[in-house]
Each structure stands twice: as structure tokens, then as C-alpha cells.
């Protein structure tokens, strides 16, 4: 009996040790950017790693109040998190540290009393949405032995049937068919949906298209939970609440702008105004952050996320640390933050490998370099000094070659491979707090599984 007790005790300690630093998946609802920054700062302080996909997560932390569709997407994400696991909501203004402590304690409890849990990922997929009308005459898929593999007609036929649907459904997932690819080859083609929840992805953005190999064509971009018709190419009406919110306008002049104000979303934490670096509005509880600080934080955030996507985790971590320092100090005048910001950002700005690896895709590199310049300028200005190596920087927010409409974005990413799409999206100044969209950052992936299933939207 005593031995049993000791073994139990030992097992409890082992579990406690193993899960001392749980891996965290962060899902941020619209308007929770500052909350996310604070959370990430606290996570870094505790050295709790951020998960790249639900499969590697222990905790799913949902910030703010996600809209219905985002909520549904999060349910799917949650279904993919292996036990032991905890899902925790954190509202703006809540004590982050307490929330983390509690969720961690609950996680340990669950790990110590393992309950068999089997979620069928299929439950969450929209299996039986009426695709049936497409189901006539797919019989040539059945045999595959009658020598018509390369018959171009088949592909076209599928194409006309509706791009998301190449053939049969299997286990609730649409099967891939074949279609002519970018280079004219008859290739396997699958309807794929990126988002709304992915690491370092603007939460709520959904990009759909036909994937062949890893090249996406026929791209359509949209925001989840944004009811009003957003029509690409419309000469955005500034007063249209459902308009092209989400795409931050570079010059700050066009109607694309920031839905932060236009949509009348009232953000509990009051930081919806991020979209406009020139004038941050509604800082609310975070009024100790000056407008410049928030702008600087925003640039640092975008930069860190871009570096994550570009596969430079060391630099991303350092950039994020600078952001934490600025956030904590409440000002960029903090000497340490200043120094490390300069060093970090300069190194990124000068990196020849980054230039070489990322260059050649649209103007991605220019935009990222501009962020670097802005950060360097921001630091310099707040120190009362002027000039930095990047005086090419225009006015804040004036990113080079930024697309202005959703059609532009779709044109940019159409025919690109997954890596390029991720880099392009990460380099755009997309306002995630706007509208009733969703917010930003290292978040779960609704990795392929779910996207294949959620084939229509």
C-alpha cells in the first residue's frame, strides 16, 4: 500500500515536471491584439513554447470573443488537440497570469487522471452539405485502368463542376481530381482552404483555391464572420461598414481602410485603431501606451510574425523580446529595448540570406525592409535623434507596392506556391482588428485536414 502511494506520488511529480512548460496555441479574436502581445510576453517569460499546430498543443487559449464562424473553426482546432489538453478563454482586462496558472493546473489534473478520449475529427466537418448534385458521371474515377488518365477532357469537366469538388467524397472529405495546372500539365487538383486559424496568420482570413502540388490557383480571399458583402475591386466606400475592411491601406487615404472605426466595433480593450499607424484610437485600459508605442509594437509584431513564416525563429524570438520590452516599459525610451531593438532589426535588415531567400516574390522584401526602417526610425525619433540606415522609409504605413484591394491580393497570391502565399500574406499590412473579422498571430493551424473538409464556405 505504501509502495503504491509512493509510486503515485512519483507519477504525479513526473507528470508535473513533464508538463511544467505546456505548449500553447493562441487564437485571437478581433480586437485583442494588445492582449495577445501581453499574453505572448507572459508566455515567453514563463518559457512556454507556442505550438505550430494543434497536434503539438497542450493549451488552447482563446482571446476575446470569437464570432460564430471563428468559434466553429476553433471547435475543429480543438478537436485536433491531443489529450491532456485544456481550452481556456481569456477576456481583455483579465489577469493573464492567473488564467495561465489555472489552465496549467487544470491541465496537470487532466494529465494525472487520464480519461480515454477519442474525438473523431470527422464530426466537425461539414460532411453532408449537398454536394450530391455534382455526383453524376464520375465513374471514370472508379477504374483508373482504362487508360484515360491523361485525357484532358476529364479535368475540364471537373473544373466546370465546381472547383472545390474534384470527384467523390471519402470520409466526408472531397476527393482530389485532376485538372490542368499552371504549366499545362494534367495534375492532381484539390480544393484547399488556408485559414482562418494558422500560426502567424491573420486570424479570420480565409484564402481558398485549387492546389496542385503546392501551387494554388483560382484564389479567393475572404474574412470569416464578416457578413456584409465585401467585393474586391469595389472602389471602397469609406462609410461602408462591410467594405474592404481588413486590408489596411498603405497611404491611409483610400476607402479601404480600417474598419476599426468604421464598423463601429467597440473593443473592450479599446485598441482597435491599430490599423492606422498615424492615429491610434481608443487605447482604453492601455492608455499608458503612447500612440507611437503602439505603432512601434505593431511593426515589431508584424516583423516577428513575418520572420516566423520565413523560417527564422531565432530572429523572430529576438524581435518578439524587443516587443515585450517595449510593451513592459511602455515606452521605447527604455535604453535596453532601444539598444536591442536596433541591433536586432539592423541584423534582419542586413541579412543577405533573407534578402536572397525571400526576394523575387512580389515586393515582399521591400515591405519588410520598410517595417525595419520604421522601427529604426521609431526608436531614433523617440530618442530624439534622427536618421538611421533606412532613411528610405516613407511616411509610416506607406508600405512599398502594397495592394489596395482584395482583387489585388488575390492576383498577387494566385498561381503562387504555399510558401510564397504565406510570405506575401505575412508582408501585407492586414488589419485584423477591423470589422468583425478576427485578429492576429501565432495560432493554431487548421492544418490540411480541416481545410480539406471545410471545402465550402
Amino acid at each position: 500500500m505504501e509502495l503504491r502511494g509512493r509510486l503515485d506520488h512519483l507519477a504525479r511529480r513526473v507528470v508535473g515536471w513533464a508538463f511544467a512548460r505546456p505548449t500553447v496555441l493562441v487564437a485571437d479574436s478581433p480586437g485583442t491584439t494588445v492582449l495577445r502581445w501581453q499574453l505572448e510576453a507572459e508566455l515567453d517569460r514563463r518559457r512556454w513554447p507556442i505550438a505550430r499546430s494543434p497536434a503539438d498543443a497542450d493549451l488552447l487559449l482563446v482571446l476575446g470573443e470569437p464570432g460564430p464562424n471563428l468559434q466553429a473553426a476553433l471547435d475543429v482546432v480543438w478537436s485536433q488537440v491531443p489529450a491532456p489538453r485544456q481550452r481556456w478563454d481569456i477576456q481583455p482586462g483579465a489577469d493573464i497570469s492567473t488564467a495561465l496558472d489555472r489552465s496549467h493546473a487544470a491541465l496537470l489534473d487532466m494529465a494525472r487522471q487520464p480519461e480515454p478520449r477519442t474525438d473523431d475529427p470527422g464530426e466537425f466537418l461539414p460532411q453532408n452539405r449537398s454536394h450530391d448534385e455534382h455526383h453524376h458521371d464520375d465513374d471514370h474515377d472508379d477504374g483508373g485502368n482504362d487508360g484515360d488518365h491523361d485525357d484532358g477532357g476529364d479535368g475540364h469537366h471537373h473544373d466546370q463542376q465546381g472547383h472545390e469538388h474534384g470527384g467523390h467524397d471519402a470520409a466526408g472529405l472531397p476527393m482530389a481530381g485532376t485538372a490542368p495546372d499552371r504549366d499545362g500539365l494534367e495534375l492532381d487538383s484539390l480544393h484547399v482552404r488556408l485559414g482562418p486559424v494558422l500560426p502567424s496568420w491573420p486570424t479570420g482570413l480565409v484564402i481558398e483555391g485549387r492546389m496542385q502540388g503546392d501551387v494554388l490557383t483560382g484564389v479567393h480571399a475572404s474574412w470569416i464572420d464578416r457578413p456584409a458583402p465585401r467585393r474586391p475591386g469595389d472602389p471602397g466606400d469609406p462609410d461602408d461598414p462591410g467594405g474592404l475592411s481588413g486590408l489596411r491601406d498603405a497611404g491611409g487615404a483610400s476607402g479601404l481602410r480600417d474598419a476599426g472605426g468604421a464598423s463601429g466595433l467597440s473593443d473592450p480593450a479599446g485598441v482597435s485603431g491599430l490599423s492606422d499607424p498615424g492615429g491610434v484610437s481608443g487605447l482604453g485600459a492601455w492608455s499608458d501606451l503612447s500612440a507611437e508605442d503602439v505603432t512601434l509594437l505593431d511593426w515589431l509584431d508584424r516583423l516577428a510574425r513575418f520572420l516566423d513564416v520565413a523560417g527564422w525563429p531565432a530572429a523572430a524570438t529576438r524581435t518578439r523580446r524587443v516587443r515585450h520590452d517595449v510593451l513592459r516599459g511602455g515606452t521605447v525610451n527604455d535604453a535596453r529595448a532601444d539598444g536591442s531593438a536596433r541591433r536586432t532589426v539592423r541584423r534582419i535588415r542586413r541579412s543577405a540570406t533573407l534578402r536572397w531567400s525571400v526576394g523575387g516574390i512580389d515586393a515582399v522584401l521591400d515591405r519588410v525592409h520598410q517595417w525595419c526602417d520604421h522601427v529604426l526610425d521609431g526608436v531614433a525619433n523617440s530618442r530624439g535623434t534622427t536618421g538611421s540606415e533606412g532613411d528610405a522609409a516613407g511616411p509610416p504605413g506607406g508600405a512599398a507596392g502594397s495592394p489596395r484591394t482584395w482583387t489585388d491580393v488575390e492576383a498577387l497570391v494566385d498561381g503562387q506556391d504555399l510558401a510564397a502565399i504565406r510570405l506575401i500574406v505575412a508582408s501585407l499590412e492586414i488589419d485584423t482588428d477591423g470589422g468583425s473579422g478576427a485578429s492576429t498571430q501565432p495560432t493554431p493551424s487548421t492544418a490540411g485536414q480541416t481545410q480539406m473538409g471545410g471545402a465550402d464556405e
Binding site: W17, A18, F19, A20, R21, R47, R52, S53, A55, D56, D58, Q80, V81, P82, A83, P84, A111, R117, D120, P121, G122, L125, A171, G172, L173, L190, V192, L198, P199, S200, M211, G213, D214, L307, V309, A310, G311, W312, P313, A314, A315, T317, R318, S351, T353, L354, W356, S357, V358, L418, A419, R422, L423, S445, A447, G448, Q449, Q451, M452, G453
Partner: protein, 300 residues
């Protein structure tokens, strides 16, 4: 039996060292010594999840094969002066283990029936076509210098001078290839953050442990092989040969991590160009130079 246990132990040790150092450099956190062990324990305690309509058989084969191949590659490294499997074609054996990884990683990406995982698998093969030939030429260059494909003979041939002196290009190509087949550092696109972890994205529990640990052991094994082929293996004064090999291996690990983490991921299409236009000719010229030295009797 004892030798097999030694390979297992050294493999796990080197893998843990690699993972811990990598973590420390990545997060600038020097307290990460226990991180790999903690992570392994956590993964053992985590549920093994599945996906919708996976190809479970192939998925499992892929996951299990990664660590097996890693230990298999270490089996031909003469850790104690002699290796577990001493054959007449050690170098090709190492190469084969690493090529079998092509299949294993692709299967790990294919199995879960998920877009990101499959994309990771594709990327791995695409990248393989880039790094594989330079890596092969690098390995064969060491064999050429020694006049033997046996690892122990290659070490013996470096008694007077380490091969790295006359084969610097091959050494660099070998380390680059190691980063490639372990999809790590600048060549980690198959497990990239932009595809949510790619081939790793759907793995949890013991499956993830298998692939992550296998990858770390492979990196440690590759470092040991680099020390064997180019840095004189166990040659060195005062200390026993095993100690020298391990010291050199640790130095190679450190150098790989410091260099590899200084840069972002190189996208496969970029690397492909460099590999075929620069690396392959460079490694061929390196092999030619070594062949001429062999003919001139330079290596004795």
C-alpha cells in the same frame, strides 16, 4: 550486444545534446539542458491522435523508420575505434540510411491525409533532389582519399593529416547535406512554420517523439560521421580515440547550430539552383582534385 547498446546510448546522447543546444541557441535560453528529456516525457504522456481517413499503415511505417534509420547510420561510425557494423561499404551504407529517409519522411507526410503534411513531404523530396548529389560526392570523396569505403580505413588514412585540409568543399557539402536530410535549420522547409510544421504538423504523442528524436539522433550521427570522415575520427594526442571522436562531434554540432540558426530558411526553389549550378560542380572539382592527389601518391 554491448556494442549495439553503445550505439543506442551514444545516439540518444548526441541527439539530446543536439536538441538541447539547438533549443538554447534558438530561444537564447541557457537553461534548456533538460528540455529534450522533458519534452520526450511529455510526448510519451500525450495522446496519440489521428486524422480523418489516414493511411495509418504507411504513416506508422514512416514515423518508426526515422529513428531506426538514424541508429542504423550511426552503426557504421567507428565510435570505439571499431564500429558496430564494419562492412566493405560503410560510406554507402550511411548514404543508404539517409536515402531511405526520403521514403520515411514522405510517408510521414503522406500518411495523415492532410494538406500541410503532404506539402512537407513534397518539399522534402524536392529538396532531396538538390542536396543529395553534392552529399554523395562529398562522402565518396572521403572514400576516394582513403581508397576504401570502410569507415575505419578512412579514419586510419587520416593518421597524418585530416581530410578536411584537402577536402574543405566536401566537408561543407556534407554538413549542408546533413541539414538537408534532417530537414533542419536553413533547410527545414519540409517542417516549416509556413506550413504549420509540415511533415510534423499532424504528429502527436509517441509518433511525434519518434520523428523528433529520430531527427535529432540523425543530426548527431551526421556530426559524428563528419568528424569520422573529415576530422580524423579518433586521432588525437593524449586522450583515447573515443574521447577525441566525441569531442570533435560535439564541436561539429556546435558549429552546425551556430551557423544554421543565423539565417532564415532557404526556400527549396532557391536552394535547387545553387545546388545544381554551384554545389555539384564544386563537389565534382573537389573530387577531381582529390583523385589527382591520390594518383600523385599524396595520401600515401
Amino acid at each position: 550486444m554491448g556494442e549495439a547498446a553503445l550505439v543506442l546510448l551514444v545516439g540518444l546522447g548526441l541527439g539530446a545534446v543536439f536538441a538541447a543546444t539547438d533549443h538554447a541557441v534558438l530561444t537564447a535560453d541557457a537553461h534548456g539542458i533538460g528540455v529534450p528529456i522533458r519534452r520526450a516525457t511529455r510526448l510519451l504522456l500525450t495522446q496519440r491522435r489521428t486524422t480523418l481517413a489516414p493511411d495509418r499503415l504507411l504513416w506508422r511505417i514512416g514515423c518508426v523508420a526515422v529513428p531506426l534509420l538514424a541508429f542504423g547510420s550511426l552503426a557504421v561510425v567507428p565510435i570505439t575505434g571499431s564500429s558496430l557494423l564494419s562492412t566493405t561499404a560503410d560510406l554507402v551504407w550511411f548514404n543508404t540510411m539517409e536515402v531511405l529517409l526520403w521514403g520515411a519522411v514522405w510517408l510521414a507526410g503522406w500518411g495523415p491525409n492532410a494538406v500541410h503534411a503532404l506539402t512537407g513531404g513534397y518539399r522534402f523530396l524536392a529538396q532531396g533532389l538538390a542536396y543529395e548529389l553534392p552529399l554523395m560526392f562529398a562522402i565518396i570523396t572521403a572514400g576516394l582519399g582513403a581508397g576504401s569505403l570502410n569507415a575505419e580505413s578512412v579514419v586510419a588514412a587520416q593518421d597524418g593529416m585530416w581530410f578536411v585540409v584537402t577536402m574543405p568543399v566536401a566537408f561543407a557539402a556534407f554538413l549542408l547535406g546533413a541539414a538537408g536530410f534532417a530537414f533542419w535549420g536553413p533547410l527545414s522547409a519540409p517542417a516549416g512554420a509556413d506550413i504549420a510544421g509540415g511533415v510534423m504538423s499532424e504528429l502527436s504523442g509517441v509518433d511525434r517523439l519518434s520523428v523528433e528524436a529520430g531527427r535529432a539522433v540523425f543530426l548527431g550521427s551526421a556530426a559524428a560521421m563528419a568528424a569520422t570522415l573529415f576530422l580524423g575520427g579518433g586521432h588525437g594526442p593524449w586522450l583515447p580515440g573515443t574521447a577525441w571522436l566525441l569531442i570533435k562531434t560535439l564541436l561539429v554540432i556546435g558549429a552546425m547550430i551556430l551557423a544554421g540558426r543565423r539565417m532564415p530558411v532557404v526556400r527549396p526553389e532557391r536552394f535547387m539552383d545553387v545546388a545544381w549550378i554551384v554545389l555539384i560542380p564544386a563537389t565534382l572539382v573537389q573530387a577531381l582534385a582529390v583523385a589527382l592527389l591520390v594518383i600523385s601518391g599524396y595520401y600515401g
